[in-house]
Amino acid sequence: MKRAQKENLIKRLFCLFSLLSIVFLLGIVIVLFKEGLPIFRTTSLGNFLFGKFWYPTYEPPDFGILPLLLGSLWVAVGALIIAVPLGVAGAIYISEVAQSKIKEFIKPVIELLAGIPSVVYGFFGMVIVAPLVQEVFKLPVGLNAFTASVLLGIMAIPTITSISEDAISSVPNSFKEASFALGANRWETTVKVTVPAAAGGISTAIILGMGRAIGETMTVLMVAGGAAVIPHSFFQPVRTMTATIAAEMGETVVGSTHFQALFAIAIILFIMTLTFNIIADLLTQKFRRRLR
């Protein structure tokens, strides 16, 4: 029975390794809460979430993250307005319209789009897009929520396209054949049968895209303008939660209230992206069950 024991040991060892992802995830939660929660001794949760002023270095400091929260949401929503139509249209084109040769070219190209580092998007935004936006809309500065949305939108496209494409191409052929047999043409079949059947997968894609846009850091840090004020227009400079953490962490004293406040922002950020992921997960499962 010694061999069986050894086999069992090996199995347990591998099990342990596979649990590491959860360990790291829990580790992140613990760290965020341990470093971030103490801020609520000095600032109430209400004031933190709904306070209109983020003046972390004033005396006394103000830790209201409403401007940052809204900044993140504005930019992310703006990004989706750009990315969803383009990304979903691209997905439909790839799976329903394009010939296989074109498809084999476009799919890897879109994967490459996902591979470009975010700092390069940020750089491209600063040197090319921002001056263009400034010129076209006659603005005092080109670094604003609009520019950030455009770039985040481009960045979110690969996520949305590839997941939507998976969903659309997994719609059973029998659905389409039924539609063709009833005299519908390809466009009608696509719009009335294929896309609605893939709606679950497409919404998963959109939610994951939203999660990515909210969590994106370097691009918004570089092009959103960085003003921690409540945005009133897309052409105003804004500052997101991620950018705030990235920009200010380097200048805080470890353990100070400012340090704690940044970790507390990360808690909010983490909860938001986790929620998006879980919703996407649930949607995927529901969607799969229905197609089966």
Binding site: S21, V31, Y93, I116, P117, F123, T190, T217, M222
Partner: protein, 284 residues
């Protein structure tokens, strides 16, 4: 009423246009970075230390720094990711535990990169006392790419035909012998290919190394894994947001961006090409 035929024509036209816009965006980025970057890139740029406050000289420290960080990340994440994938595909039975593990992996993949940075700062830099160093940054990046590596390895393991496992087990091999002698040798190339995508990701990330590994300016090359380093992505950021001579820093940033894009996309394309060929050719 427009005819159905016309409607179809317009509809497909719009889809085509949208796809074209996506491709255009990619090519615009690549074009501007390439055209402006190529002007400053030469042998010196790649192999020399920077001087005159980052406005002249080369970017060798950033190239090396990124290399060290990536090596450290992959050394950490590859064994862990492969082991996790082996458990998930070879041992685990469908059930609660495996669902929890999957949720863990999915959500780890969705954590914003800057949050990984905070985790690295609190755990590796502070708690373990590794300081701002290659080790801290590499480990942080390693955790970040772990889900990518697990998924790629799982895919590679699933491609190995079940009949190989059956043949081995029927010959009286134990499960572990079967995995080691039959499954892994046939999955290893797929695993490595998938891991290359992880390398590309690790090389391009900035936020996770922001507080764990990088510094804007050093006069020395790193001496050990406890040294702080320059890194390509951070270098671009720093050139654009710090320093006092934007007119001379932007060209350097273009050059650095081109090197980074070339590196990351080069790595990714290799992985994609090998993977596609691999998927097509395997027909046991």
């Amino acid at each position: 009423m427009i005819s159905r035929k016309l409607k179809e024509y317009i509809g497909f036209g719009i889809l085509r246009l949208a796809t074209l816009i996506i491709l255009l965006a990619l090519f615009a980025i690549l074009y501007f970075v390439a055209v402006n970057g190529i002007k400053v890139i030469n042998w010196q740029f790649l192999t020399q230390m920077p001087h005159s406050g980052m406005t002249a000289g080369g970017i060798l420290p950033a190239i090396l720094g990124t290399f060290y960080l990536v090596v450290c990340a992959i050394c950490f994440a590859l064994p862990l990711g492969v082991a996790a994938a082996i458990y998930l595909t070879e041992y685990a039975k469908q059930g609660k535990l495996i669902r929890i593990i999957r949720i863990g992996i999915n959500n780890l993949a969705g954590v914003p990169s800057v949050v990984f940075g905070l985790f690295g700062l609190a755990v590796f830099v502070k708690f373990f006392g590794f300081g701002i160093s290659i080790l801290s940054g590499g480990l942080t990046l390693g955790i970040l790419i772990l889900p990518t590596i697990i998924r790629a390895s799982e895919e590679a393991l699933l491609v190995v035909p079940q009949s190989f496992r059956e043949a081995s087990l029927a010959l009286g091999a134990t499960k572990w012998q079967t995995i080691r002698k039959v499954v892994l040798p046939n999955a290893i190339s797929g695993m490595l290919t998938g891991s290359i995508l992880g390398i590309g990701r690790a090389a391009g990330e900035t936020a996770p190394i922001l507080f764990t590994a990088v510094t804007f300016y050093t006069m020395r090359l790193p001496r050990s894994i406890f040294s702080e380093v320059q890194a390509l992505p951070y270098h671009i950021y720093a050139l654009m947001t710090e320093g006092t001579h934007p007119e001379t820093q932007i060209p350097v940033a273009y050059g650095t961006a081109l090197v980074l894009v070339f590196l990351v996309l080069g790595i990714d394309s290799i992985a994609i090409v090998i993977r596609n060929r691999f998927r097509r050719r395997k027909k046991w």
